[in-house]
């Protein structure tokens, strides 16, 4: 994916060219959906927030000055939406994951896969929303440190701190699970 191409499409979309924005949606909706899914572990919520993120992006496109890439700007919108929504939930609400049906015929592999997902879900559920956001953007979306800072509206130093706290908490959680022979 070429950032320059995005820039051209953004300029066209800012001039009211809806098909250009359609192309931006086509390019980025999958990544935004996966990010939001990993944040909330709920397909319906992730879908709704993905849709809302793009609607907000379209409505606020004139305010996009291109200081960050379009993708980072989109992640910023999605992050704000998601953190606002998660902050309204009760602190101890578990992430209610709707696990997809097993895809393989190998029951042992299915079991391993399901256990792994469950522990990843629990490990992420133990994090605050902004710790989870930093970790997901770093591990799954492979955003650079600067991009994570821009997407979260944080300083790079604060992203370091969030990442360390998040990784440390995950390490602790998984160490306990390993000690008990669960993974």
């Amino acid at each position: 994916m070429n950032q320059n191409d995005d820039g051209q499409l953004v300029a066209q979309a800012q001039a009211g060219d809806l098909p250009a924005f359609d192309e931006l949606v086509r390019r980025h909706h999958g990544a935004v959906y996966c990010y939001l899914y990993r944040m909330c572990r709920n397909g319906a919520d992730a879908e709704e927030m993905t849709q809302e993120s793009f609607v907000k992006a379209w409505e606020g496109l004139m305010g996009f000055r291109g200081r960050a890439s379009f993708k980072t700007w989109l992640y910023r919108i999605a992050t704000n939406l998601c953190i606002n929504r998660l902050s309204r939930q009760k602190p101890n609400d578990p992430l209610a994951e709707d696990l997809p049906a097993a895809r393989r015929d190998d029951p042992e592999e299915n079991f391993r896969q399901r256990t792994r997902r469950e522990y990843i879900q629990r490990a992420l559920a133990g994090l605050s929303a902004d710790q989870r956001s930093a970790l997901v953007l770093s591990i799954y979306d492979e955003l650079s440190h600067e991009e994570i800072a821009a997407a979260m509206g944080r300083s790079p130093a604060s992203v370091n701190m969030l990442l360390y706290r998040a990784r440390s908490s995950v390490r602790q959680f998984l160490a306990d699970a390993r000690e008990r022979g669960l993974i």
Partner: protein, 137 residues
């Protein structure tokens, strides 16, 4: 450097000036090395999580929603229309009338319906204050 500070710095980009000091700390601290190695291994464990399945028509639905919102009147405009019993076709005319009234009012004020405001020295003179130089500066 304290262990926590070094570990936090090691989370950031390698070109941070202070990372070299953190590296030196970690090189001499077995506890930090073990912690960071485990953190890296756990990141690999998390990475093995399967990619969520993207709903097949999500992009189409996003664009349909955007197109629908474009044709929908703004909520405040729709509320105003309902309040005054206007249908949507009449809204541009109502807006035009409002602009015309605004322009007329602006022109009328400019012609002096309200009248020119007295200067500060005139207002002070009305209450009996005499200015040393005889007027506004």
């Amino acid at each position: 450097m304290k262990c926590d500070d070094a570990r936090i710095l090691m989370m950031g980009p390698a070109d941070d000036d202070r990372v070299e000091a953190a590296r030196q700390h970690v090189a001499g601290c077995a506890e930090c090395r073990a912690e960071l190695a485990q953190i890296a291994a756990d990141a690999e464990f998390l990475r093995r999580d399967e990619k969520p399945e993207i709903p097949i028509d999500l992009g189409t639905r996003i664009m349909a929603e955007i197109r629908q919102r474009q044709t929908r009147p703004r909520p405040w405009l729709a509320a105003a229309a309902r309040a005054y019993g206007l249908n949507r076709a009449a809204l541009p005319f109502a807006a035009l009338i409002l602009v015309a009234v605004g322009l007329w009012l602006g022109a009328a004020l400019g012609r002096g319906i309200v009248g020119p405001q007295p200067s500060l020295s005139e207002r002070l003179a009305q209450v009996g204050v005499e200015l040393p130089n005889g007027g506004d500066q």
